[in-house]
């Protein structure tokens, strides 16, 4: 196994294309444990952290651009970003410990392909886009379209995520991410729920509800969104959100949780995230 640390996207692209079996990484917080647990070693480990574009965050022209390899601790300590997207920041902030936070990244969290990735549901709720570099240049697709199943990505050989774009939200918009773990931290979500709502007074005018850890990928819940839009998040609407989220959950039984539990709690967390997001939208 070799190690390479390109300083430009082009250099990284070339390395990836020229070395079959190579793999890009950012913080290596998933890659290294996977290798230690016996997964085959890549031919070349390509470190993306020396590429400025992957390590920066900018805000102009009505959208945010976040480098795919930037440590999540830099994102969660960015006061302006966190005030606009508290839900994305919450999700990113749940990844591992403080030490891990200095290494973990939005790009790594997404491209590890885990259905339980904490930063993904809120990114989808804000309709974040992934800018992907490959042998033929760059393309931009919704974050929701990157992961196709556990550990499975829609990226072709030689492609990697460079950065994320997220449009400024409309006025009176708030987002939230809540997860269930048996421990208070240092754990993997059994269920995660992100909700983003836009409010006009007491009425919800737009809503996105996304669940994590209850299906092969993070999933949007259109029925829950429909229940929220036009409502004042009254009891009846929230009951519909709860039921719709539980109905949308399609989880597995594993060491981390049962189907029955995940289905039930998916509804509870969607409801709670909706209430929190609406509070933030009104603030």
């Amino acid at each position: 196994m070799e190690y390479a640390a390109p300083t430009t996207v082009d250099e990284a692209r070339t390395l990836l294309a020229d070395n079959p079996g190579s793999r890009v990484f950012a913080g290596a917080t998933d890659v290294v444990p996977q290798m230690r647990s016996g997964r085959p070693e890549p031919s070349v480990l390509i470190d993306l952290k020396l590429i400025d574009r992957l390590m920066s965050v900018t805000h102009d022209n009505g959208h945010w651009t976040i480098g795919a390899a930037m440590p999540t601790s830099e994102l969660t300590s960015n006061g302006e970003f966190t005030s606009v997207f508290p839900g994305i920041s919450e999700g990113a902030g749940w990844i591992g410990s403080d030490q891990i936070q200095n290494r973990s990244s939005l790009g790594g969290n997404l491209c590890n392909g885990s259905p339980a990735a904490d930063s993904v549901p809120a990114m989808i709720a804000s309709e974040a886009r992934a800018v992907i570099a490959g042998t033929d240049g760059e393309r931009t697709i919704p974050v929701a379209d990157v992961v196709t199943g556990p550990g499975q990505l829609s990226l072709a050989d030689g492609e990697f995520v460079v950065e994320f774009e997220i449009d400024d939200p409309p006025a009176n918009t708030g987002d939230a991410y809540i997860r269930m773990t048996p421990r208070t931290e240092m754990d993997i979500a059994i269920v995660g729920a992100a909700v983003r709502v836009t409010m006009n007074g007491d009425t919800c005018t737009d809503a996105r509800v996304v669940l994590g850890a209850v299906a092969p990928t993070a999933v949007r819940v259109p029925d829950a969104e429909a229940a929220l839009i036009g409502s004042s998040l009254d009891e009846a609407a929230l009951a519909e959100v709860t039921a719709a989220a539980s109905a949308a959950a399609n989880p597995i039984n594993d060491k981390r949780g049962t189907i029955e539990y995940r289905v039930q709690v998916a509804g509870v967390l969607a409801k709670r995230a909706a209430v929190l997001a609406a509070e933030r939208a009104r603030a």
């Binding site: 269930m180 421990r183 931290e185 594993d254 981390r256 029955e260 539990y261 039930q264 509870v268």
Partner: protein, 744 residues
């Protein structure tokens, strides 16, 4: 030595000096077994069984032997076959399987190579042909008529020769007439409980470095709770004389009972012997969880009867402990751990039952937490049915001196009533639970043990002292030894250097277990110091020119009313002149300590239950425990807090999750969920001191009792908060949510 009635006039005992080994541990200089490296050292790795139960048809190591860097390979054939009646038989076939693998992860072979990676690669290249056997995973399954045998080598212990059996032990205890008392009781509550296997969760994986020399002697550096135990078991498994092995104790990164046996050392010693090079063998975390000794799972059916005014009249209990693939003492101790209340009628039956899972080992008050979870839950329900305060009900029935334990032995002076009174008077119990929280209490008992200890105290020429013992320091015992020596000799605690010496530098000492080190080894230290004081007075009398009988040892110096105009002769003054007064001052004491005082604890928790997710939050927690006399209160509190936290983990989230074919699904700290700091409130502590009459300072062991009450404490608090009685450990969010759903 005479007993004392806690005079509280000590200068050093009861103070809180910084531990002598603290600096090295804080700055990272302390040497744990895996920190040691010897010139020319090889690294070893295991091949472990991918099956939970199978015959080994053949093992072919030829490919592995030819691989780069490989210097030696051992299998079970490299060790003598011990007779089935040999006390080390089970450990010998656990260290490396002989003919049959009994659980997933059972070691089959080990390779020593230049690097760990080479050893691992070669181990994976060893070819084994298996013949699969039926896997038995549950207590009911193992006890069923015609059940397949877990282990054809297992015979029920203590019943004489018998057919192979899935039963390891069967311990009935009976007193009075439980059936008649139950029939006459005003209230009877019976419930069935189950508990998952849990692991001690020590941070340091098992590790050793061994150099077997051409002279046939082996030098062992190992992390354990008792290096004399490591020496004895390693020798027995190798078929060596004990004296061929010297064991130097490394610092230990947690044991909690799990390091009271041996896994690695015989294997590393044989590899070193074959290769002619030192061998280092360190388990990974996954190996620790799969292949060391967790605590047993259990199933318990408990019935308790009481009168309408809250007098407990009878207990009828059936307890089965799942001890893993080998016989273990867990089943025997279950019934013995019932000792907190005056049950006039008692019928207890406990079983040790085998399964194709890792062999179990001791874990802090082994078997008592399971029994206490069941019994204290039912007692809480009785209090609730009778509308009695849970502490009042317990006070009414609490065992006192002279009451009989389940074993039929009368309790010596014990402090259960004092602990209950202390909790009742505490700020915690006197305050209302926070908004949305509710409260639970429970009692725990552990009997503690004495066993053999040795201590040597050398007085140095500069007036300091070296206190040498053979008890590995797993919980602050060095500081406690130094405090007792300082109190006896009357010198500063930092003038004492407490040392844990190797097997050739101190007298035989049993394992640090049963909360015995401060009690038994401390007693040996005190005896050696008292012998030295006699000698110090004799030397001083000689120097002062007075009669020996007129010299007294007071506050670190010899004083004599007959020594006209003379200053007291300090310890430093006497040791400085030792050469002229008769030579070095040194004393050794060895003993087999009796009279370990039982320790009781009462815990109190306030919890909130999220009724939509089943998650339990502990908002306040207090542990009360009788320490006899707290030699170093900080380390007594540390033991109480540590036991509480491990018990909280056991109560809420820790569990071994096995697949249907016996594979542990959560062999890491991500999914084997010990609590993290943010899961816990500050664990408040109240030390009660009812001195143990059998120790010169009144010490009772404090290491274990703290893990006994938390499960029932939290279960009782969940009942109060959410109205559901949890009978299955862990009380994880899915189980609580299901119970809430079932109750609606």
């Amino acid at each position: 030595m005479t007993a004392i009635e806690n005079p509280k006039t000590y200068k050093w005992v009861g103070t809180r000096p910084i531990r002598h080994d603290g600096y090295d541990k804080v700055v990272g200089k302390a040497r744990f077994a895996a920190d040691l490296n010897l010139p020319g050292q090889l690294h070893a790795a295991y091949l472990r069984s991918p099956h939970a139960h199978a015959n080994i048809v053949s093992i072919d190591t030829s490919k592995a032997e030819a691989m780069p860097g490989v210097k030696a390979i051992v299998t079970g054939d490299d060790f003598p076959a011990l007779d089935i009646t040999d006390p080390n038989h089970d450990v010998s076939i656990n260290v490396l399987a002989r003919g049959t693998v009994l659980y997933h992860g059972h070691a089959i072979a080990a390779v020593a190579a230049n690097t760990k990676a080479e050893a691992q690669t070669a181990a994976a290249a060893i070819e084994v042909e298996y013949e699969l056997l039926p896997v038995v995973l549950g207590i009911d399954e193992a006890m069923a008529d015609g059940a397949p045998l877990v282990n054809e080598h297992n015979h029920q212990k203590f019943v004489g020769p018998s057919d192979p059996s899935n039963i390891a032990t069967h311990t009935p205890l009976e007193r009075g007439d439980a059936d008649a008392a139950m029939a006459a009781a005003d209230i009877v509550i019976e419930r069935e409980f189950d508990c998952a296997h849990v692991h001690q969760g020590y941070i340091e994986p098992h590790a050793c470095v061994i150099d077997t020399g051409a002279d046939g002697k082996a030098n062992v550096w190992a992390s354990s709770q008792g290096h004399f135990m490591v020496r004895a078991i390693t020798a027995a498994v190798l078929g060596w004389e004990t004296s061929r092995i010297k064991v130097t104790p490394a610092e230990i990164g947690g044991g909690f009972g799990g390091k009271t046996t041996v896994y690695l050392e015989p294997v590393a010693a044989r590899l070193s012997e074959k290769a002619g090079r030192p061998v280092k063998l360190v388990m990974s975390r996954e190996e620790v969880l799969r292949s060391s000794g967790p605590a047993p799972g259990a199933k318990l059916r408990i019935k308790i009867g009481a009168t309408s005014d809250g007098e407990l009249t009878a207990i009828d209990g059936w307890m089965a402990y799942q001890v893993g693939a080998y016989g273990d003492f867990a089943g025997m101790v279950g019934a013995m751990s019932v000792a907190s209340y005056k049950f006039p009628n008692l019928k207890l039956e406990s079983w040790g039952v085998l399964s194709n899972t890792p062999k179990t080992a001791a874990y802090r008050a082994p078997s008592a937490p399971h029994a206490a979870f069941a019994i204290e839950s039912i007692i809480d329900d009785i209090a609730s049915e009778l509308s009695m305060d849970p502490i009042e009900l317990r006070l009414k029935n609490a065992a006192v001196e002279g009451d009989l334990t389940a074993m039929g032995m009368p309790h010596p002076r014990i402090g259960l009533v004092e602990c209950l009174e202390a909790l009742k008077a505490s700020d915690h119990y006197q305050s209302e639970p926070a908004e949305g929280a509710a409260r639970g209490v429970a009692v725990g008992f552990w009997f503690n043990i004495g066993e053999q200890s040795s201590a040597t105290v050398n007085l140095n020429e500069d007036g300091t002292a070296t206190v040498i013992t053979g008890s590995p320091d797993i919980g602050g015992s060095r500081a406690s030894m130094a405090l007792m020596a300082a109190e006896e000799l009357g010198i500063d605690v930092y003038s004492i250097t407490p040392v844990v010496a190797d097997t050739e530098a101190v007298g035989f000492t049993d394992v640090t277990e049963g909360s015995r080190a401060t009690f038994a080894t401390g007693k040996a230290v005190v005896e050696a110091c008292r012998e030295l004081k006699v000698e110090l007075c004799r030397r001083a009398a000689q120097t002062m020119g007075v009669d020996e009988a007129e010299v007294e040892w007071v506050d670190g110096a010899a004083v004599s009313p007959s020594h006209v105009g003379g200053e007291p002769l300090t310890l430093a003054a006497i040791t400085a002149q030792a050469k002229r007064t008769g030579g070095p001052l040194t004393a050794t004491a060895s003993l087999n300590a009796a009279g370990a005082g039982p320790s009781f604890a009462v815990h109190c928790a306030d919890v909130k239950v999220d009724e939509e997710t089943g998650q339990t939050e502990i908002v306040r927690y207090t542990a009360v425990q009788d320490a006899g006399t707290a030699i170093h209160p900080s380390y007594v509190e540390g033991q109480m807090q540590g036991g509480s936290v491990q018990g909280i983990g056991w109560a809420l989230n820790e569990e071994y999750i096995f697949s249907s074919d016996g594979v542990l699904m959560n062999p890491g700290f991500l999914d084997y969920r010990i609590p993290v700091a943010s899961d816990l409130p500050m664990i408040e502590t109240i030390i009660v001191e009812v001195p143990n009459p059998s120790h010169p300072y009144g010490v009772r062991g404090v290491g274990e009792t703290g893990i006994v009450p938390p499960m029932a404490t939290i279960g009782n608090a969940i009942k109060a908060a959410a109205g559901v009685r949890m009978t299955s450990l862990p009380m994880s969010p899915p189980k609580v949510l299901k119970a809430l759903g079932d109750a609606r």
